[in-house]
């Protein structure tokens, strides 16, 4: 009874939204903190796949780990010749390879963590590594 009257008065006197009057001070704080946390979760959980390092392997052994922050090239002597790795800020690729089919060269720039170019004939691979590795595929 009493609350019905209180609600009616909030309609007439304050012209405040009757729904807003149901929120207590702590509710505003909790809602605000939650909203910030939700907003923060988007970049946190969605950009974990960005690459940070280029890992070059020969016969499965790590030859070099290159920082993806600056430009450079690296030549790796493989089984049948020399593979050239090119690194630019945020990305890396196989620039040249002696392999007959050039699959790893034609794969182009690799950016995201987990992406890999394999020059099988020359036993060389280039993989991007990040804070947490991405994935090739998920099957349900």
């Amino acid at each position: 009874m009493t609350s019905r009257r209180a609600q009616a008065s909030s309609f007439t006197t304050g012209r405040r939204n009757p729904w807003l009057s149901l929120l207590r001070p702590g509710d505003w704080v909790v809602a605000g903190v939650s909203a910030l946390a939700v907003a923060a979760s988007f970049p946190l959980l969605w950009q974990g796949g960005a690459g940070e390092r280029a890992v070059v392997r020969r016969d499965g052994e790590v030859v070099a780990e290159l920082d993806l922050s600056r430009k450079r090239t690296l030549e790796v002597a493989g089984a049948i010749g020399t593979t050239v790795i090119a690194v630019e800020p945020g990305r890396a690729r196989v620039a040249a390879d002696p392999g007959p089919r050039q699959y790893c060269v034609r794969q182009g720039w690799l950016k995201r963590a987990g992406e890999i170019a394999i020059c099988a004939p020359n036993h060389v691979s280039l993989q991007i590594a990040g804070r947490k590795n991405g994935f090739d595929s998920i099957t349900y």
């Binding site: 929120l23 207590r24 939650s34 939700v38 998920i138």
Partner: protein
């Protein structure tokens, strides 16, 4: 009509729990019938009942109502003991556990919206952890988490406001408790 030899003695409390659980189950079915674009995103209307019960009858009754709702809702929706049932069970258990703590917050400052938000986040958090540990054992599950969190925020506030409104309308606790037991 022959009298059944089995006599279950029930208390008024049992009747109240059954009645409230029935309301929660009905809202679960409404929940399941609302189409939403992303699987896993639900308004969680049954949580309105859980919160109302928590406020009016205390934690034990709320836990009963919530548990009965999960089991009977699972039977009615046809996913009893299927993965969806365990997700639902985990979500309900997680939100009850946090509600047990959150109900001790000072009532003057923290109202139903706070409890509803906390319960909603605990619900989806528990479900995500179960999904990660058991159903999809890969961190890829967490790619969907921001969307789930956003839904929990939105529906948590809406449901909390509904609870606050209903509490305001029905206080003091209804003296006309139906006596047709």
């Amino acid at each position: 009509m022959t009298r059944s030899p089995i006599e279950l003695s029930t208390t008024p409390d049992d009747h109240r729990i059954a009645r409230l659980a029935a309301a929660a189950i009905a809202l679960s079915l409404v929940d399941a019938a609302i189409p939403l674009p992303l699987p896993g995103v639900k308004p969680g209307l049954a949580n309105i009942v859980t919160l109302l019960v928590l406020y009016r009858y205390g934690f034990a009754t709320a836990a009963w109502v919530s548990g009965l709702r999960v089991v009977a809702g699972g039977l009615l929706l046809g996913h009893f003991l299927a993965p969806g049932f365990f997700l639902s069970l985990t979500g309900a258990a997680a939100s009850l556990a946090t509600l047990a703590l959150a109900q001790r917050l000072p009532r003057r400052w923290f109202g139903p919206v706070t409890l509803s938000l906390i319960a909603a986040f605990a619900h989806i958090g528990g479900q995500l952890l179960l999904a990660r540990a058991w159903l999809i054992p890969h961190d890829g599950v967490f790619l969907l988490a921001p969307l789930f969190f956003a839904a929990a925020l939105f529906f948590g506030i809406i449901n909390g406001l509904i609870v606050a409104r209903l509490l305001g309308e029905s206080q003091p606790p209804d003296p006309a408790e139906p006596q047709h037991a």
